[in-house]
Amino acid sequence: MKKENAIYVENLTKMFGDFTAVNNISFEVGKGEVFGFLGANGAGKTTAMKMLIGILKPTSGHAQVASFDVASQADEVKKSIGYMSQRFSLYNDLTIKENITFFGGIYGLKKSVIKEKTQELIDELGLKDEANKLVKSLPLGWKQKVAFSVSLLHNPRIIFLDEPTGGVDPITRRQFWEMIYREAHKGKTIFVTTHYMDEAEYCDRVSIMVEGKIEALDTPKNLKTQYKVDSMNQVFLKLARNIE
């Protein structure tokens, strides 16, 4: 059990009946690292992530997040992580301010802190005019940025992002990744799943999951050298094809 690691996974397995969704995976994520968690649809990414954020119990193996065990200390894990899902994470029929107040509230932040954070967040994203508008009326890219900021409200040490940029235009995606980097520089650990291979290039290290197993895990640069290709896209295709 290494204390310096943000995430520590050892022989983690999840079975649904006879089907093995996650097959004996092990990896570590260091503090302040941007870790890309890649894989085709159905490769077991989401299942693995659900175990790490404490809403799915592992069948066997261990996982520690923020040095808490995900199976036995799920409550502690939940307090130390932020989470933003591929599906939209804010309430459409609440205003930006109300969403911030609500999510701040369920993480047990004090009213004064929430007020302060709300102001900070609105200034930072330049949403002064939109703060009292329903989230419904915002463009998708803005919603995602607000959702990311909301997942940071309680100052978590580790942030889990499940396909955060799905359906967003390239410029907004770029801005989104700038936000991710800013948080990583502050020492936060980022665990991100994505389908965009160009985004994989932005990560410090990436793992590629195929059929429940981690088939590759290294820096994008090393992976490209290892598979003798120029882009992460080709690495991904090569891996997926070899398995078939």
Binding site: I55, L56, S85, S89, L90, E98, G105, Y107, L134
Partner: protein, 368 residues
């Protein structure tokens, strides 16, 4: 606790900003009570009838005047011969024909017996039945007047009294039923929809990743609906007292407590539905087909349970609404206390605990 209040606040934003659910929540009870109270009724008023009088003598005139004077009937036309009855019915304007035989007065005096035929349009059997009963009672009345002062050697005079609802107002029968339906609708359907909505939108996942306990999430979702259901119950009771003059004979406190028990029963059913349905549509269909239909058809709300076939009577026992309607009628109309309805209360309580047990178990399984 502070987290909790924030959660409930958010739930109210959802409800207040969704016009459709607001209408279901507050429009429906009012519309339904008024509809059932005014439009759907077993009473008859100013039913159009026709008279075929073969005698046209003093006695038949008195009887016809008596019928015309009652508020139940209005005489639309006079027919002269039998063959005209059928066409009159077919036109659909009249619901009944009163046919006096020839020499009515004479026969009544000489033979002490004369005959009137009451023909009713039984395409609507309930109305036909009511019409002939009302008609018979007017004639009975007249007969008693005639016999006044004449001592019959043996006489059995049944004196009927219609207890608890002397005027046979059908609204008295419908109010407990409507209240049951509305509370079921608000509590079960609305909560199941609101919980599945969070699942569908993906926000449920965010809530489960937060430090809130699953149980807290569920209670937070349910509490606002308890409040709304209570407000609804109050609206319905006020409407029935002030618009329909329906008395509440028993204790208001007991009425409130029993209503709360039923609301919690319905809510636990709603949670149960939300654990087994993945989308709002499924939740709505499950609530409508699985809950509303049995509540309306098998609870004794509209159709009396005692006249159902035995298998249906047995099935009706597992419908919570049946027990709640018995309780409501007991408290509102008969004014009984807990001593008379403890059995029904116990059944309802048992069902509630069972539903809560099953739904918490189901809910936990989903999280594994």
């Amino acid at each position: 606790m502070k987290r909790f209040i924030g959660f409930i606040e958010k739930e109210f934003y959802h409800i207040l900003r969704d016009r459709r659910s607001l209408f279901i929540l507050f429009g429906m009870p009012i519309v339904q009570v008024l509809l059932f109270g005014f439009a759907i009724t077993n009473e008859i008023n100013n039913v159009d009838i026709a008279i075929l009088d073969h005698s046209k003598d003093a006695t038949t005139k008195v009887i016809i005047d008596k019928i015309a004077a009652s508020e139940y009937f209005s005489i639309k036309q006079f027919i002269d011969y039998e063959a005209a009855i059928e066409p009159a019915f077919k036109k659909g304007q009249i619901k009944a024909v009163l046919n006096f035989e020839k020499d009515f007065s004479n026969k009544l005096i000489s033979e002490k017996k004369a005959t009137i035929q009451i023909l009713t349009d039984a395409t609507d059997p309930n109305t036909a039945n009511t019409i002939s009963n009302y008609m018979a009672s007017i004639l009975q009345n007249y007969q008693e007047e005639l016999n006044k002062g004449i001592a019959l050697s043996y006489q059995i005079v049944p004196k009927t009294r219609l207890a608890y609802n002397p005027e046979l107002k059908s609204v008295f029968m419908f109010v407990p039923g409507v209240m049951t339906v509305i509370l079921m609708l608000v509590s079960a359907m609305m909560t199941s929809i609101s919980i599945t909505r969070e699942k569908e939108l993906g926000t449920m996942e965010i809530l489960l990743v937060s430090p809130l306990k699953p149980l807290q999430v569920i209670i937070g979702k349910v509490v606002p609906y308890i409040l709304l259901a209570v407000i609804n119950a109050i609206i319905i009771i006020l409407l029935s007292i002030f618009v329909f003059r329906m008395p509440v004979q028993g204790s208001l406190f007991l009425l409130g407590a029993e209503s709360l028990l039923f609301i919690i029963n319905a809510l636990s059913l709603g949670i149960l539905i939300s654990t087994i349905s993945a989308s709002q549509q499924t939740a709505m269909m499950a609530s409508l087909m699985g809950l509303m239909l049995p509540v309306i058809l098998l609870s004794g709300f509209i159709f009396p349970i005692s006249s159902m076939p035995i298998p249906l009577q047995i099935i009706s026992n597992i419908i919570p609404a049946k027990w709640f309607i018995i309780i409501l009628k007991g408290i509102m109309l008969k004014g009984v206390g807990l001593a008379y309805i403890w059995k029904e209360t116990l059944v309802l309580l048992g069902m509630t605990l069972l539903f809560i047990g099953i739904s918490t178990k189901k809910y936990k399984i989903r999280l594994e």
